[in-house]
Symmetry: C2
Subunit: 357 residues, 2 copies
Amino acid sequence: MGYTLHTCAINRLYSAFRVLAMDRVSIKDIAKAAGVSHSTVSRALRESPLVNAHTKERIQEMAREMGYSPDAQARSLVTGRSYTVGVVVTTIADPFVAEVVQGMESTAHDHGYTVILSCSDSEPEREIAAVEMLRAKRVDGVIVTSSRIGALYLDHVEGIGAPVVLLNNHNEQSGHYTYTVTVDNRHGSLLATDHLINQGHIRIAYITGPANHSSDTERMAGYRQALSEHSLPYDPTLVVPGDGKPVGGMRALQALIASAQPPSAVFCYNDMTAIGLLRAAREAGIDIPGDLAVIGFDDIPLASFVCPPLSTISQPKNEMGRLAMEMVLTLAESYDAVRPEYSDIVVKGKLEIREST
Amino acid sequence: MGYTLHTCAINRLYSAFRVLAMDRVSIKDIAKAAGVSHSTVSRALRESPLVNAHTKERIQEMAREMGYSPDAQARSLVTGRSYTVGVVVTTIADPFVAEVVQGMESTAHDHGYTVILSCSDSEPEREIAAVEMLRAKRVDGVIVTSSRIGALYLDHVEGIGAPVVLLNNHNEQSGHYTYTVTVDNRHGSLLATDHLINQGHIRIAYITGPANHSSDTERMAGYRQALSEHSLPYDPTLVVPGDGKPVGGMRALQALIASAQPPSAVFCYNDMTAIGLLRAAREAGIDIPGDLAVIGFDDIPLASFVCPPLSTISQPKNEMGRLAMEMVLTLAESYDAVRPEYSDIVVKGKLEIREST
DNA sequence: TTGTAAGCGTTATCAC
DNA sequence: GTGATAACGCTTACAA
């Protein structure tokens, strides 16, 4: 690690008999203290009209005084609803994911739900384990974000006993009997590429994302479509592999400048790639956008702070999180009732022109 | 919003009688099917040695076939442990927080625990509500990150019935009977300011963070200490207010260049501030680090991608998350047993020299 | 309006 | 080894 660690005052004082086992007060305790039955307490605490207004108030007062806190698990055991939804992501450290989760959490909160967060690190086993664990916790719904292995869920989905919605899933065959929220990748790429073309660029490169992600396939498709719509030739040598991360972008730039006929513009799979590319360009003394115009995809929070500020396709991250959460909650509330077999929400990205193009 | 939304295939098909109420199988169901008592099933499923090896295997096989999933809530009800810890943060969209949470989640996972995420948006009521809710869910522990209102917890902390650890708390009076993980702010500032001084700078400005945060007070103290250790005068006009966000940094730069005797270097409360300042500097045609050296604090993931790459004090974010989680889990496992009255872990930041100084 | 009793799915304590 | 039986803290018929 290299970080020095300083533990101070640890184990400073052991208080031998500090038994904090502050026995939790239950409705029975309140019942005893109030001289009523525990069912009356239960009613009073949940504002049931079936209880005398006076005693209700008295009981609520006592509950407060005694420091009562309802046991959500016990309640859930009998009601069958946990008011909890599981959110599975690759890694929360990804700024895109973080924004999406932010949107999810706040909507969940607004509806009185709680979020269990699980990071899979893109490892299938961990992702499955997470789903299994969420199932054991009896969540009312699950949202899986940016997963590459969505198809696996479809098998698990039957067993989990709760609705599952996929957000920006990267797998092709997640079409059946599932619920999804996705950005329109093709449309976004069209926007990006068109923009470059309108600026007069003819030779436009595309830096790919990680292999086998449907989002990459779709963005690539949009790029080619824009080219063909403008009767521009598609040159395979202008498609260079990246990995969705800064390093990929840096390497891609090397490949680009080494080529016989370098492009005058480049569309990157995502902002992280573009940012890596920007950095490499600066080091190589290439002027952006003078020598090379660059556009990304995602609009991560810092896209406007790199230099030059990055033009990009903005995904409504917060909004997407909100939509996914609302979808899963709606499904949860009508679970084991009549509901649509599947539904997809497709949101469109927006062209954000800054100074890199 | 401005984003167009396209709902496709929604409500595509209602299958009227698809009752997915796939009645959950319980140990009793398995017991019935296997012709044994439910206690035997319970034992078999938890690898108890108190059960015939043959029947154990048979039962496990049946459980698998029947798609059994243990009910964590029911179990928790009787064992008193939920294997869940609550993490409350200001906002997960903050890259610093996201990294910390990443560290927390992965350690929790390694120990078989699950994370409930709650974002308070720095609103005291929400923060209190979150704690209340976590209490109802019977979490085994709570970690509060970057809160400004830690003192409030100290009242709640007794009632919550679970250990609470504070990470990078911004409140002064969180000293008693609590557990904390914090970065050594004074030390980090010393590092940063020393670095600037060693580069030959005499007039060094400090851009503050949000008011009344102890972290700001401490960083400021480190700055002054470095100055005095090098017998440099402390000039109050060189301390300009920021807000911990890019805008604050941008505004601060205006103030700086408008001053009679501008500094040749500036130490910013955090990276976000520095990044805003960098941007304003670029727009104002100020050369970094030629005209002005800039250093931040935090080392957020994109600090190395802005231009010029930002020198900063690196906080071991992941590590801090890990430490906090390990602390709370240790406390949880010994709850209502003998344990230290309080302990603080203080980690030291590291000077990360890049190109802005 | 209130109380009694059953039950949610576990684990745990006894006997046998 | 195994099976009753009693919790755990709550909600909810069903009675009174």
